[in-house]
């Protein structure tokens, strides 16, 4: 595989977010509009210059409503990506494809919701009307049995991972401890100044065995937007340029939505393997070139899986890799320097892309000195996506 045509030619020019809260007191659309406006302001681009939009299939905010709210002119590109948080880095790939092919010069990617005060994913899907379509029929294997929530779907794989690899709940806990350590020094994080210990992780109540409360991301009200344009255009704008070195999507054989329980084993995320293979091949980079990683962390177990799939360690070795502060600031591979979705906010992975940008601009509250390459991943257990972002040379 050679490089993708857009690699190195497209940049992230702006990032913007609302505050992250448990009750925004505003509509989801208002949050989306605020985030898009902030991202365009960050870039120094007037809303009338936006030509394209990308969001998640699950986002409730119509692009045309944002366009009317902010006075966009004509749009020539609008796209949505399904599979929940798996869409995150895929939105940047869509934007990169559009920008590099001349379809749209400026594309805004956004995600906004009241996921805490409004529709909570963690409440489960039992209320969903059993309309006879394939999306609902997929859930027919789980809903009548009582396997209803994302935490429960992940836990089924995680239990087998513990059994097969000899990892323990404490190894999951080390991810939570690292995230919360980073959130503690990020004033934008919900859990600012609230680090946790491994003992507190172990003592937290069961949500679904083998997952404790502190293995689970928070629920957040908020919005995040990212502005994508060409590298040339970005160099004329307000911020230091962050290059899209690679932007890829991945779905793998035997893929299911959160419940890929029928593959040979449950100790991998083959779709993240598809992402990893493309990230390395199209960027020409290798794991040791990466200075920091933002690994999607709705639930801690899949962070261990990702370290293995991305090649930061061997299969079954993540339980050793996460020890001794290796994934914390100052370690060999700092992850989730913003605090992740456990510590900063659950924005369906979009806030992780923004942190990748800040690290390369030197704007993170937990700056990795000299960071030149940052890897970002999207939702796990679903068809997913990934990015490698680089500093402009």
């Amino acid at each position: 595989m050679t490089s993708h045509a857009f690699a190195g030619k497209v940049a992230i020019a702006g990032i913007g977010a609302t505050e992250f809260s448990k009750k925004s007191g505003r509509s989801e659309l208002r949050l989306a509009v605020e985030a898009v406006k902030a991202a365009l302001d960050d870039a120094g681009i007037h809303p009338s210059e936006v030509q394209g939009t990308v969001t998640y299939g699950t986002d409730t905010n119509p692009d045309v409503d944002i366009a009317r709210s902010l006075g966009f002119d004509d749009l020539t590109f609008f796209s949505r990506i399904y599979f929940g948080g798996g869409a995150a880095c895929g939105t940047i790939q869509q934007a990169a494809l559009a920008v590099n092919s001349g379809v749209a010069d400026v594309v805004v990617c956004y995600r906004a919701f009241n996921e805490r005060s409004g529709n909570r994913f963690g409440a489960g899907v039992q209320g969903r009307a059993p309309i006879a379509n394939a999306e609902n029929a997929h859930l027919a294997s789980y809903i009548p049995v009582g396997l209803l929530t994302p935490a429960q779907w992940v836990a089924m794989a995680a239990a087998r991972y513990l059994y097969s690899t000899g990892a323990t709940s404490e190894d999951f806990g080390r991810v939570a401890v690292a995230d919360r350590k980073h959130a503690a020094t990020n004033p934008k994080a919900w859990f600012y100044q609230q680090p946790i210990t491994l003992e507190e992780h172990q003592a937290s109540r069961w949500i679904v065995e083998p997952l404790h409360l502190l293995d689970c991301c928070q629920e957040t009200d908020g919005g995040q937007a990212i502005v994508v344009t060409s590298v040339e255009r970005a160099r004329d704008l307000r911020q230091d340029v962050v290059i899209v070195d690679a932007a890829v999507q991945g779905s793998a054989k035997g893929q299911d939505m959160m419940t890929s329980y029928y593959r040979d084993d449950l100790c991998g995320l083959p779709e993240m393997g598809v992402v990893a293979r493309q990230l390395w091949e199209t960027s020409g980079l290798k794991p040791s070139d990466i200075d920091a990683a933002i690994l999607y962390d709705h639930f801690t177990p899949y962070v261990l899986y990702q370290l293995e799939e991305l090649g930061f360690c061997g299969k079954g070795e993540a339980k050793d890799f996460v020890k001794d502060g290796r994934i914390e600031l100052g370690g060999e591979l700092p992850i989730n320097t913003h605090g992740g979705q456990l510590g900063e906010a659950y924005l369906h992975g979009m806030n992780g892309i923004a942190e990748g940008v800040r690290l390369l601009r030197g704007q993170s509250y937990n700056q990795v000195e000299g960071a030149e390459k940052v890897l970002v991943t999207a939702g796990t257990g679903v068809p997913t996506s990934g990015l490698i972002l680089g500093k402009d040379v």
Binding site: I131, A134, A140, P144, L148
Partner: protein, 342 residues
């Protein structure tokens, strides 16, 4: 403080053993028309109720009535019941039998709410076409006051004794009381009610809502139909033979869209498991253990695990028992396989 109510224990004790009312004679003899309606409504396909040859082959001298119809033969219909209630309300029919007296005493004790708690029937002999039934009812027992989940109340048990005479004997014009002395006991029924003071329940009794329904499409209907029929079905590619679950319209191995199913033995190994604690959805009991079972046929499925969650571990053998949760939904529940050798 609740209102003080009188205690009628002594008066109630005197009613025990008394006839609830007069002996009743069934309006018609046991007949095939009513039997046919009953078995149609119940979906009972046993031929001994309608087919003389089948009944004889089964050792009966003729077709028999379903035994659970026992009380149905003496029921006089809705119009009769409504007319009787209206007459009592108008005072044109006296209600001084023991049953009416008992109910009035309960009401006076503040126990104005009623719920039927259980009904047990026992059968002495089958009922044949032409049998004419009589019923003699009495008050068998009245409990001391008890605090129940529904409220502070007394249980009352009615005993109904069913007798049969031939239709010819019944038509001779003698009284029902006299007929009983010549009749044969064919069955009994005990019917228990709770009369309680409303609003005195220890806890609100909330019925558990049904489990959330699966979405049924043309692709997965056979699976849920199979469970209702007591079968755990696995989709089977008729071109390459690959088994697959969950159901899909096509075979990922050979791309064929042709399929049927095989019926699983329902035995397998626990491949993974979780124990749900939160959120607690009212349709389920928590902690809720759920397993991913690798069936011996090779496919996996997600199913509920029976018993103490702590008793389960990955790698253990498990056996399915298919259970109906309600009229629409049956599911496999896995318990420990006791037949395993290790």
């Amino acid at each position: 403080m609740p209102t003080e109510f009188p205690d009628h224990s002594d008066a109630l004790a005197k009613l025990v053993g008394e006839p609830s009312g007069p002996v009743e004679l069934s309006p018609e003899a046991v007949n095939s028309a009513m039997i046919r309606h009953w078995v149609e409504a119940m979906g009972d396909r046993n031929p001994v109720y309608l087919d003389r040859e089948a009944a004889r082959a089964a050792g009966y001298r003729d077709v028999i009535a379903p035994q659970t119809m026992l009380q149905a033969w003496i029921m006089k219909g809705l119009r009769h019941t409504l007319d009787l209630e209206a007459a009592r309300a108008a005072g044109t029919v006296a209600s001084n039998d023991a049953n009416s007296t008992m109910m009035a005493l309960f009401d006076d004790e503040g126990r104005t709410s009623v719920v039927a708690t259980n009904c047990d029937q026992s059968y002495v002999r089958p009922l044949y076409l032409g049998d004419r039934l009589l019923v003699r009812s009495s008050i068998e027992a009245i409990s001391d006051p008890k605090q129940t989940g529904l409220g502070h109340g007394r249980f009352a048990t009615s005993l109904m004794e069913f007798f049969a005479v031939s239709n010819e004997v019944a038509e001779r014009g003698v009284s029902a009381e006299e007929l009983v002395s010549q009749a044969e006991l064919v069955g009994t029924m005990r019917f228990r009610i709770l009369k309680f003071r409303p609003g005195t329940g220890a806890t609100a009794v909330v019925a558990k809502p049904p489990r959330p329904r699966p979405a049924i499409t043309e692709d997965n209907a056979f699976y849920f139909e199979g469970l209702r029929a007591g079968e755990l079905r696995i989709q089977h590619c008729t071109d390459c033979g690959t088994l697959r679950h969950p159901p899909l319209p096509g075979c990922g191995t050979c791309t064929s869209l042709n399929w049927d199913y095989v019926v699983s033995e329902g035995k397998g190994e626990l491949y993974s498991m979780v124990v749900n604690h939160y959120p607690q959805v009212p349709a389920f009991d928590y902690p809720l253990p759920i397993g991913l079972i690798e069936l011996d046929e090779g496919t996996r499925l997600v199913a509920n695990l029976e018993g103490d969650p702590e008793s389960w571990a990955i790698g253990q053998r498990a056996t399915a028992e298919i259970r109906a949760l309600d009229d629409e939904l049956s599911l496999p529940f896995f318990h420990h396989d006791d037949t395993q050798e290790d």
